[in-house]
Symmetry: C3
Subunit: 243 residues, 3 copies
């Protein structure tokens, strides 16, 4: 699962969702129904039918797992996964008080049911900022060892917390520490802003797995991957003429 | 009219507008055709037909009222309201030189024709900032006494003026002063950004009336109201397990 | 070609693109398929058919020209223009190392094939900032003399470089120097943000040519041109009543 682009659906109307997949589905590796939006989407079954026909996997945001967990209703969550045919499960502790060890235990349990995408990082910017580079690398290692298929690095929808700095750039120190221990192919980087997309493609190459990509940015991200936008053109294009 | 979500249409194409109402119409309490967009929307009649079928009320932005008023053409405005079947009228003085007393007089006059949504606050950030908490509360009280059904608190589409600070947060002092005198059910808070939506739901609960919600944010706002997003999950969700 | 609004398509799905043109096509003078997006748009032919039927011209972003040029493949670029029926060609040096004189030479060459839109300004903010007002005016003059039909002033999609300052406002000194030498009707100002749209309409009047307008902003820009939004209402509306 390399060069995966994970599209986030934050509540598209059904017709537009269908249009996006019909037009750009070949650019989409996975769809996440962001946080708990699935529970307030009346026509979720129609969106799922569209994805099934296109052969695209999907799952629910980690916040939905946390919402069920904090209410001691994980069975209901698993019933939802079963009923909808979600292809993956995200396990995270971005919001609720669940420590890394507890989360890794849930990664282990949930991977009996579906391939698990584990998330590292907190939604709260200050809490994330207190994670040292070694903390990040250790948590990712632990989640993979617990059976996660991929580990997602949190940056929120704003691209300004988690593995991003408050001004929207990658935390280089974290990135270096993580890559020293983990194969980039096992990571899915949340990159909701162009700044983060550009920095990750420049640092890790065009095949880096990118997540939280807005439907409106699918084509833009693909142009960045192919050097067809100013930001990566000179890095990725074979130059044939002397300048 | 509590827990009203007012969606702003800033110029959606007709197909997408129809798609939004078909998919998420049950989340929409009122639609505002923002400022004077109605006059440059060729297929306004089709949008209106969609709303009528869904049983959703609609009105034109206060700026359109001001545009007619400043040209001494209020009769033309009323003819437009009549012709289109707008269910409400917004009366504001956000742009034109019309003082609070003059606006309240227009609230009184217009409420002969339609339920009036009166707006308090100016589009100009500095002018709004000069309104003291007592000014805000007094103006709202005056508009309600003049017959307004609801009073809208201005923050612009950017969420950075009116009742919001230049960095996009609620003016707490204003909010406190207003709530000391006015029932929150008579207020419709413009909350175009997630920050403002979160702050208002945290301060006033999930049933607060929210306005200037973008079509793309309808589902997101509903998840905030239900504690299905990280920002309000721990505040609004009954916790069943020890953390 | 005055009062031209150039809409940028950064990768709309096909259905939405069709919807935008059907609903608001009369507001669109030209469509630019931004940077190299055309090469990753599977259904480009369907979008082009929509534009042809509506009688709207279109072209590919200057970055695509640069991408071909830097690979010494301008013939392939011309073949693409021919095959798709693009009505214009953009010639720019926003990303690749090509000096003003070299660019003007390409303006001359490409205008044998299509009317040329030449672009002045660099994507890199610092590089653009080093262009003096006289540099801007001189480069625009040179491109027009080389045969460009219009000259586009770069501000990027963010509206924060090129002829815009890093905080998103117009560079007044540049604007003054340019207008002293060039007729505004020969300029197409990139104005992707409302701030820039408002500043340009206030400075140059409602008929200023505006570019990089997002599909979602077409109606909004038209209301600014007609004084139907707070930002330009008092400037552009004949006031009939004493305030």
């Amino acid at each position: 699962m390399s060069r995966t682009t994970m599209m986030i659906d934050t509540g598209l109307p059904t017709g537009l969702f269908t249009d996006v997949i019909a037009s750009h589905g070949e650019l989409v590796g996975l769809v996440k129904f962001g946080w708990g939006t699935a529970l307030v989407t009346r026509e979720l079954h129609r969106k799922i039918a569209v994805l099934r026909e296109a052969g695209i996997g999907f799952y629910f945001g980690g916040t939905l797992f946390e919402w069920y967990l904090v209410q001691d209703r994980v069975d209901d969550y698993l019933a939802l996964v079963e009923r909808t045919g979600a292809t993956h499960v995200e396990v995270s502790n971005g919001t609720i008080p669940l420590d890394q060890q507890g989360k890794a235990e849930w990664v282990r349990r949930m991977s009996r049911y579906r391939p698990v995408l584990a998330e590292v990082g907190y939604k709260d910017a200050e809490r994330s900022a207190r994670l040292s580079p070694a903390d990040w690398a250790g948590a990712i290692r632990e989640d993979l060892d617990a059976g996660a298929e991929l580990v997602i690095t949190e940056t929120r929808e704003s691209g300004r917390s988690g593995m991003a700095t408050p001004d929207g750039h990658l935390r280089d120190d974290v990135l270096r520490a993580v890559l020293a221990r983990i194969d980039a192919g096992r990571l899915l980087f949340e990159a909701p802003t162009k700044d983060l997309q550009v920095e990750l493609i420049r640092a890790l190459g065009p095949d880096v797995n990118l997540g939280n990509i807005a439907p409106a940015d699918l084509v833009g991200v693909e142009t960045l991957r192919r050097g067809l936008r100013g930001d990566t053109l000179l890095q990725l294009t074979p130059v044939a003429v002397p300048a």
